[in-house]
């Protein structure tokens, strides 16, 4: 059974997104002189929602992995893995919390009327009880066997579109990263002698 997708953390639609886009368009006009009829914002809102959902239809643990790559303790282990090239370094991570930010930007072109970018902010928070990850050559190459509580907060500019409650989930199948997510790289700088 596949793991929970990030899309599943979000509702099907967002109330008032059309109003928020309309407000944004009034503040930063991008449709020229044309007075756009009201229904267009609703249609745009539906289309933008669908497009954003389509790019978020991936494994939630894949998105969260970016948080592990930033953690100091894991960076230290990744540096250690560089000393033994091509040897996998499996790690068990204990109880911890992660928060990964994702910024989907919807680029909207409305015929010849204009073009704009609608910036969204998605924050995925997770509380892990335990999870196993594997590092190799300073990269995160897989994650598996974990339990966590995860929630999502989606905003369009200052408008909070969705602030979901935490749901418990389990990593039902391992997540592999190919190519791996780079955490640490071998330094090529040689020490220089002082002049």
């Amino acid at each position: 059974m596949p793991n929970l997708t990030l899309r599943r953390l979000l509702p099907d639609n967002y109330q008032h997104l059309d109003e928020a886009i309309e407000k944004y368009s009034r503040e930063q006009p991008w449709t020229g002189q044309a007075s756009v009829p009201g229904f267009l914002w609703q249609m745009l809102s539906d289309r933008v929602t669908a497009e954003i959902h389509s790019v978020l239809d991936g494994d939630v643990f894949g998105f969260l992995a970016a948080g592990w790559c930033k953690a100091r303790e894991i960076r230290q282990s990744a540096t250690k893995s560089l000393r033994e090239p091509d040897k996998p370094l499996p790690l068990v991570l204990g109880k911890h919390e992660l928060s990964t930010g994702i910024r989907p930007v919807a680029v909207v072109t409305l015929g010849e009327l204009g073009k704009t970018e609608l910036p969204f902010d998605l924050v995925v928070k997770a509380k892990f009880e335990a999870v196993m990850i594997t590092l190799k050559n300073g990269q995160l190459i897989s994650a598996g066997s974990g339990d966590c509580e995860v929630s999502a907060l989606l905003k369009f500019r200052e408008h909070t579109l969705y602030d979901g409650a935490s749901i418990k989930t389990r990593m039902l199948e391992p997540v592999t990263f190919d190519p791996g997510l780079v955490i640490a790289v071998e330094s090529t700088d040689k020490p220089r002698a002082n002049p």
Binding site: G38, L44, K70, I102, V108, G111
Partner: protein
């Protein structure tokens, strides 16, 4: 010395468990109990005794789960003796509104409240047995039933034994169509008639209001209770009463007129009563809008059927009921409208859209146009978008095509460059036409241009801020 059990023999979950240690000693452990639900019913009655005939009692029934496993389903029923249910949960739109009532899952330590208002009948006592039956049954059923009993005080006639010299009767007249929303004001006329044979004196008039508050009294009295000094034989006294309705549910205003001259009180009391509806129910709003989504891709000929498709959306907040759709055109016959809701009255839920197909038949060569409109029972906060225009073009029949060839030939003589410019200009004209329609807030309905405004959306994902708490790490 610490010992670890070498073997554990489990007989049943409700029997003690024997632990056998490695040195052969045995010990008993208390039985392990499987989680189980435990339904419990409690009832609070308001107001407290004494009770009179016609009084309304409110039963606050609490169905709780005192166990440590959820109750999947429970049915609540109420046996009534000398009681009539007035309403159930009048102010909770999502709760059950009649008994028996089926409750869904009740988690451990959770409660479900049901409010039942019932009126006492003519007998001198009342009784109700309230039972909640869980499925599957719980182990302790003694606390699943509560019985409430009460005595009803008999109201002795004030003037019992006094010979009749007057016969008073009370009647109430009210406009049956007046608003009965929560917080609204109602007005009614109380008429007290004396059928004789003598004058009635010292008539005491009082009012018992239930879920309504008295505002103003005019006429024979300026307040209530009051005393009317005299009503002549075959005469009347009238009072006009204004009151404010309370919360959603039952209301009643009971007026009584008694006098020492009238010992027979059977017709001395009457009531004005009814149901108060919630404010929102009567002020439901549904914002409908219409958008043309499809028009004939090519020009039609006179007599052909041109089909237009519209999307009607209800932006809420309430459902649009009894949706009416009308279409008109001066230069094309409207043949029919096919809508998604075939069952009358047509309802469009809040946030939903329905597709409507409109078949027209242009009468003559040239452009034709018209408009499709929608309406519903609910108030529409933005009626400006409740209609949308449609337009098309009927081309000449095939026998007239040679004219086009002639024109094309002439254009060919003028030169390809000129023709290209003409086409380019025509495209600009069309775009300008589209823009001008947008400027006026109208719909886009030029059928030959497809798509009218192409919408392209693509999403790129940028990394956001990422944080991690301290992570305990150990090698696997």
């Amino acid at each position: 010395m610490s010992q670890t059990p070498a073997a554990e023999s489990r007989r049943r979950s409700d029997t003690p468990i024997t632990l056998t240690y490695s040195d052969g000693t045995e010990a008993e452990r208390p039985p392990e109990r499987a989680p189980a639900p435990n339904l419990e019913v409690s009832v609070t009655t308001e107001p407290p005794a004494p009770y009179k005939h016609g009084d309304v009692i409110r039963f606050w029934i609490v169905v709780g789960n005192k166990g440590d496993a959820p109750i999947p389903f429970a049915r609540v029923s109420m046996q009534l003796g000398n009681l009539t249910i007035v309403n159930v949960n009048p102010t909770f739109p999502d709760a059950c509104h009649e008994l028996p009532c089926d409750l869904r899952e009740i988690p451990p330590d959770a409660n479900v409240s049901i409010f039942v208002r019932s009126r006492i009948g003519e007998e001198n006592s009342f009784r109700t047995v309230i039972t909640a039956t869980p499925r599957p049954p719980d182990a302790v059923s003694a606390d699943n039933t509560v019985t409430v009993e009460g005595e009803v005080e008999a109201e002795p006639p004030v003037n019992a034994g006094v010979p009749a010299s007057a016969d008073l009767s009370v009647d109430i007249e009210a406009d049956p169509d007046q608003s009965r929303r929560s917080g609204d004001s109602v007005t009614y006329l109380v008429k007290i008639h004396n059928a004789g044979p003598q004058d009635a004196t010292n008539i005491q008039v009082d009012l018992r209001g239930e879920n309504m508050s008295l505002q103003k009294v005019t006429g024979a009295c300026s307040q209530l209770p009051c005393t009317v000094p005299r009503i002549a034989r075959d005469g009347d006294a009238s009072l006009q009463v204004s009151a404010t309705l309370g919360t959603a549910g039952f209301f009643r205003s009971q007026v009584r007129a008694i006098s020492a001259d009238d010992p027979e009180e059977a017709n001395n009391t009457t009531s004005y009563e009814g149901e108060i509806t919630t404010t929102t129910a009567l002020r439901a709003k549904a914002d409908l809008s219409v958008m043309l989504t499809e028009a004939p891709a090519e020009s039609d000929q006179p007599g052909d059927i041109a089909r237009f498709v519209f999307s009607v959306r209800n932006h809420g907040p309430d459902a649009a009921t009894d949706v009416q759709i009308t279409a008109s055109s001066d230069d094309a016959a409207v043949l029919g409208i096919t809508q998604a809701c075939e069952v009358a009255p047509c309802t469009i839920a809040a946030g939903s859209s329905v597709a409507i197909e409109l078949d027209t038949r242009p009468d003559a060569v040239g452009t034709f146009s018209g408009r499709l409109g929608v309406s519903a029972t609910e108030q529409d906060p933005d009626p400006g978008n409740n209609s949308a225009p449609f337009a098309g073009e009927a081309a000449p029949a095939s026998t007239e095509i040679p004219w086009i060839w002639i024109v094309a030939a002439v254009l060919g003589l003028i030169g390809a460059g000129t023709a290209t410019n003409a086409i380019r200009k025509a495209r600009w004209r069309r775009m300008i036409d589209v823009r001008s329609r947008l400027d006026t807030g109208g719909e886009i309905s030029l059928s030959p241009i497809e798509p009218v405004i192409p919408i392209e959306i693509h999403v790129r994902v940028e990394p956001g801020e990422t944080e991690a708490s301290s992570i305990p790490v150990r090698d696997a």
